[in-house]
């Protein structure tokens, strides 16, 4: 139930005096409340749960995580190479 998914803000508008956005989830549009992410702007990715944006995705941190993972990938490939050469 706590599943939240990242989506991209396409438009921002005021509805019933709430700050709302049209958010695209891989092309599927939904109307999402932006009240808790006042700094969010068009083009930002937000983490959405039951119609509310909980936070803005931090692009730098996302890159950082992926960089760490690709370093592990490189390291593992290296290790495997060493293992196969030492086995030969």
């Amino acid at each position: 139930m706590c599943l939240a998914v990242p989506g991209k803000i396409i438009t921002i508008e005021e509805v019933d005096s709430l700050r709302m956005a049209k958010v695209s989830f891989g092309g599927v549009m939904k109307q999402i409340c932006l009240e808790w992410v006042p700094e969010a702007k068009i083009g930002d990715y937000v983490i959405v749960h039951v119609g509310f944006a909980l936070n803005i995705v931090d692009e730098k941190e996302a890159e950082e995580t992926l960089k760490m993972i690709s370093e592990i990938e490189a390291l593992m490939i290296e290790e495997e190479k060493q293992n196969t050469t030492s086995a030969e």
Partner: protein, 360 residues
């Protein structure tokens, strides 16, 4: 999709598994607290890919599973009333109460409606001024702010026909209850990334210290979970014990301050009963006195309803990670997703249902 596909990458997962293998020297027991993570673990067969010295136990982090039987009975009692429209997230509709479930109420003529967001429930109450619209307000800290917002908005829009049946639960007290249990075999936790997106993770620092247990805030995709496991294993192997944040693209230390403020203004923290576990002190939310006119328990006078669980169901032990669902005598026979005996068989995030779908 951006921010999803990268974290489902098979090569990255493979590398992380290899790294976990080469890092873990001893045997470790790690609990993922959140049902969403349990679902991913079972769906992608992560347990089978891990080295045998790493054991994952599945925690009580599925609100559908831990909402107590008596709360379901209260929901059913209210939903059966003539002038009521009962609204709920879809997963709660099939949860068995002691005699029936909400879908059954609907089949018998009750007006029970599934909503995607609590804002939809508000809309229904605007469109039906002659009906009483009740929203089943369940969930952890992730879902609590949206539900709180519904109450605040109902007040602002002067919707006197709207109320919530409040059954909110909180993660940190549950982690403490699990760790302080003498039977606990949990050595590290993966904390729930979306709960922490709202609340941040400073609350976990004293818990990690007191129980000498690493806690890694973790996301929901397979690569996230594997990296979370790796971080936990690294801490355990190095005898470190810290709160670390794997899900930093979404979680900041302080969480979302606006959503948190809304929570403290709307709810009081109270003791709550958890299905299969019992009462955990200070582990849930109740509407503040100033919002009591939106409290369905008071409006419909169902506070008196209490109920105990079926003796066959070992959900309590499953939710505490003491037993696997397959160790339950009813698993797959008396208890199946189509005819669930206990709550963990209901939601796809429940440990028993996840085992049933992916593990047979």
């Amino acid at each position: 999709m951006k921010y999803l596909d990268e974290y489902r990458d098979a090569k990255a997962a493979q590398a992380l598994i290899q790294k976990i293998k080469s890092t873990s020297k001893k045997s470790w027991v790690i609990m993922e607290i959140c049902g969403g993570q349990t679902h991913t673990i079972l769906k992608y067969g992560i347990e089978e890919l891990l080295p045998t010295n790493i054991t994952l136990v599945h925690g009580p982090g599925c609100p559908v599973c831990v909402t107590p039987l008596e709360m379901i009975d209260k929901a059913i009692a209210i939903a059966s009333l003539k002038d009521v429209i009962f609204t709920s997230y879809g997963d709660m509709l099939r949860v068995p109460g002691s005699k029936s479930d909400l879908l059954n109420v609907k089949a018998n003529g009750g007006d029970v409606r599934m909503v995607y967001s609590p804002l939809d429930a508000l809309k229904i109450s605007e469109l039906n001024p002659d009906k009483k619209v009740v929203f089943f307000s369940v969930g952890f800290e992730t879902t609590a702010p949206p539900n709180a917002m519904a109450v605040v908005e109902a007040q602002r829009r002067k919707l006197n026909n709207f109320s919530i049946l409040c059954a909110h639960v909180l993660v940190p007290p549950a982690i403490e209850a699990l760790l302080s249990s003498r039977e606990s075999r949990i050595q590290a936790f993966l904390a729930a990334g979306h709960v922490c997106t709202v609340m941040g993770y400073s609350e976990y620092i004293p818990i990690s210290k007191e129980y000498n247990t690493p806690i890694v805030v973790t996301g929901f995709e397979p690569v996230d979970i594997l990296q979370g496991i790796l971080m936990a294993v690294q801490q355990l192997e190095e005898s470190r014990c810290e709160v670390e944040n794997q899900y930093s693209r979404s979680v900041r230390l302080e969480g979302n301050p606006i959503a948190k403020k809304l929570l403290t203004e709307t709810f009081d923290i109270v003791d709550r009963k958890w299905r299969g576990i019992g009462t955990i002190p200070q582990s849930g939310y109740r509407l503040k006195e100033k919002y009591s006119s939106f409290d369905a328990e008071k409006i419909f006078n169902v506070e008196y309803i209490t109920k105990e669980e079926s003796p066959l169901c070992i959900a309590g032990e499953v939710l505490q990670g003491l037993k696997k669902p397959t160790e339950c005598s009813a698993f797959g026979t008396l208890c199946k997703p189509e005819s669930p005996l206990g709550a963990p068989m209901v939601s796809t995030e429940g440990a028993c249902a996840a085992y049933f779908h992916y593990h047979k």
